[in-house]
């Protein structure tokens, strides 16, 4: 029975809110309604979903590639070295450095009057010659990458640590080149872990809210912002149930992603023992 507190916690803070969201999405004042789900087909809502997907996918791929390279660089060094400790600690902090502070850090650095922008401008380089991209999807992707890369390092390091040097020695003894080793041994072993971590990053970006809210407050460019708009709109009746429908759609998407992640994790854990 030691799991009872845990189950109670999960039920209160995870299952109950989810149930409220699911029921709310169909709650038509004393009956079941599909109006809210139908409203998900509105062009501006569909556009937000596409934006959310694009930003999450782009920032997770960027984060995964660069994060994996950084993690690999770390594992080539001393496992108990100072450098590794510094990098993992820094990643632990930066992976959770999001929200308004992060958005403002970027605004102050490369915003219209940012330090770097002004310095480059004085040297004849206008980074916003083709529009102020910091407040577009590309800018959001860049800002998200800032916490995606460190997160990738944290979740991918254990997989890289699981790669035994003996495998490489064995490959070389059997006449394999470095390319052969990566293509036939390390690559196939690390791929599930890499893809799984990428999916985790996707879910992480998909649900991020505060960073985007501080950076792009107009037009509900991604779904979390649409939910916020539906919940706390001053200029219309609060459309709580539409927010529930949006949240339900997000839950479904994240559930699919996390199911894939779990399957990939299972493959990875086979040889990580």
């Amino acid at each position: 029975m030691p799991v009872v507190p845990f189950l109670g916690y999960v039920a209160t803070f995870l299952l109950l809110p989810t149930a409220i969201v699911v029921f709310g999405a169909f709650d038509g004042q004393g009956g079941i309604t599909f109006d809210y789900l139908r409203a998900l087909g509105e062009p501006y809502v569909v556009a937000s979903f596409v934006h959310s997907f694009v930003v999450s996918a782009a920032s997770s791929v960027i984060g995964a590639v660069f994060g994996a390279l950084l993690a690999y660089a770390v594992t080539t060094g001393n496992r108990d070295g100072v450098l590794r400790r510094i990098i993992t600690s820094a990643c632990g902090v930066l992976a959770l450095f999001g929200g308004v502070a992060l958005a403002f850090a970027f605004i102050a650095t490369i915003g219209g009057a940012g330090l770097v922008t002004v310095w480059l401008g004085n040297h004849g380089i206008d980074i916003y010659a083709h529009g102020v991209w910091l407040y577009e999807l590309s800018g959001l992707t860049l800002v998200y990458a800032y916490f995606q890369i460190p997160l990738m390092v944290l979740v991918f390091l254990p997989a890289l640590d699981g790669v035994q040097p003996q495998w490489r020695e064995a490959a070389e003894n059997l006449g394999g080149t470095t390319w052969d080793y990566w293509r036939l041994v390390a690559g196939p072993l690390l791929t599930p872990a890499f893809l799984g971590a990428t999916l985790l990053l996707f879910a992480n970006a998909f649900s991020a809210f505060a960073t985007a809210a501080a950076l792009i407050s107009q037009g509900g460019i991604i779904i979390p912002l649409q939910i916020s708009g539906a919940l706390s709109s001053e200029v219309g009746l609060g459309r709580e149930n539409f927010a529930n429908a949006l949240a339900l759609a997000m839950i479904v998407m994240v559930a699919v992603v996390m199911t894939l992640y779990a399957l990939l994790q299972r493959r990875t854990s086979r040889w990580l023992r």
Binding site: T12, D27, A113, I221, S232
Partner: protein
């Protein structure tokens, strides 16, 4: 919340458990006092009786009352100093809708808000409010109060283009905003589909471009043009973005610009002639206020000469301004500091706001993306 069905009751039950577990302080008002139904201080036996009852409660709950909004920091400090009543201000950066949500969500708990400061849209459902008439009731123009006192306008202002005159050249009209020198410099501080004040900002540009209070489309077109020119940035303007020069031009209520001026002395306001949009906020007492006497005393304070002058100091125009000017009790230096207005203001009514909102929901995101 409009949940129906069983899961809502489960939610309430869990919420109640959490509230108990969250060691909420014991309610200060045991039996419902007569303050809860008093419609004026006189009904309670005069101001002294009201003050005594409020002091006994000892606390006042407010929600979404931003300290840097219309000088509320000084007003709250003044109230606390004068009566020794502690103010709890929850979620200070929230919207008017958040206040209504809080009234419904926290109903029956001692954390429910006592009094509200809300926009015109939130007056649609007055069943949440208790009627109360402040001592200075007759000074308030009839058009600016609900006859029984369910809501009363408190302070207001005009939609203005604020700009940092040390960073950009002087702005004389709405059309100036299209100039290339404003590239990446113009911002609102919220999404107009979600905020009354941002909606009024778009409405102001609509009036300047041949629209009317019934037709906000010209304003949306204007912002689409600004966006295309690269002048409009979708970042939420805050004191920080203004201070560091990211958003040197912000369109919002003139009395909110005061908080920018503390960091940016060169902050200048233009209330464009021919596009004068006025807006007042409203006070209401929560019918289920946990501190009914303190809620009413707060109202009395806001509408006293002292409270009204504090609004004025914050650059807002208090609702009793005309009467106080006649009575000679207005803070003349503060009144002289208000930005000049060249004509009568246009007030957006509830129906116009609803129509504008519907148009914005359908068109705003497309126009600025």
């Amino acid at each position: 919340m409009r949940h129906s069905g069983r899961y809502a009751r489960v939610g309430v039950a869990v919420g109640a458990v959490l509230a108990i577990a969250g060691c909420a302080p014991p309610s200060t008002s045991g039996a419902p006092s007569t303050a809860a139904t008093a419609t004026s201080a006189a009904a309670l036996g005069g101001m002294d009786a009201l003050v005594a009852a409020a002091k006994k409660e000892g606390q006042l709950n407010l929600v979404s009352t931003a300290p840097d909004w219309a000088n509320y920091a000084a007003i709250m400090a003044g109230f606390q100093a004068k009566y020794g009543i502690k103010i709890n201000d929850d979620n200070p950066e929230g919207s008017s809708q958040d206040e209504i949500n809080a009234v419904k969500r926290l109903a029956g708990t001692d954390r429910a808000p006592d009094a509200l400061d809300i926009g015109v849209r939130e007056l649609a459902d007055t069943s949440l409010f208790a009627p109360y008439q402040v001592a200075t009731w007759k000074d308030i123009p009839d058009a600016q109060k609900e006859p029984s006192g369910l809501w009363v306008q408190d302070y207001g202002g005009y939609m203005a283009i604020g700009y940092d005159s040390s960073k950009v050249s002087a702005i004389t009209s709405v059309q100036d905003l299209l100039k290339p020198e404003f590239k990446g410099k113009i911002a609102l501080f919220a999404d107009p589909t979600a905020s009354n004040s941002a909606l009024s900002a778009v409405m102001m540009t609509s009036l300047a471009n041949g629209g009317s209070l019934d037709d906000i489309s010209k304003g949306v077109e204007f912002f689409a043009k600004l966006k295309k020119a690269g002048n409009f940035v979708p970042v939420a303007a805050t004191k920080a973005t203004v201070a560091n020069g990211t958003t040197p031009v912000v369109i919002n209520w003139d009395y909110l610009a005061v908080s920018f001026a503390t960091d940016v002395p060169a902050w200048t306001l233009l209330i464009p002639s021919g596009a004068i949009v006025a807006g007042f906020y409203n006070q209401a007492v929560n019918k289920g206020a946990p501190h009914p006497a303190a809620a009413r005393l707060w109202m009395e304070y806001l509408y006293s000469n002292e409270g009204q002058n504090l609004f004025l100091e914050g650059g807002a125009r208090p609702v009793r301004m005309d009467a106080m000017t006649k009575q000679g009790v207005i803070d003349a230096p503060a009144a002289a500091k208000l930005p000049p207005v060249s004509g009568p203001g246009n007030f957006i009514n509830l129906n116009q706001a609803t129509a504008a909102k519907a148009y914005l929901v359908a068109n705003w995101a497309n126009a600025i993306s």
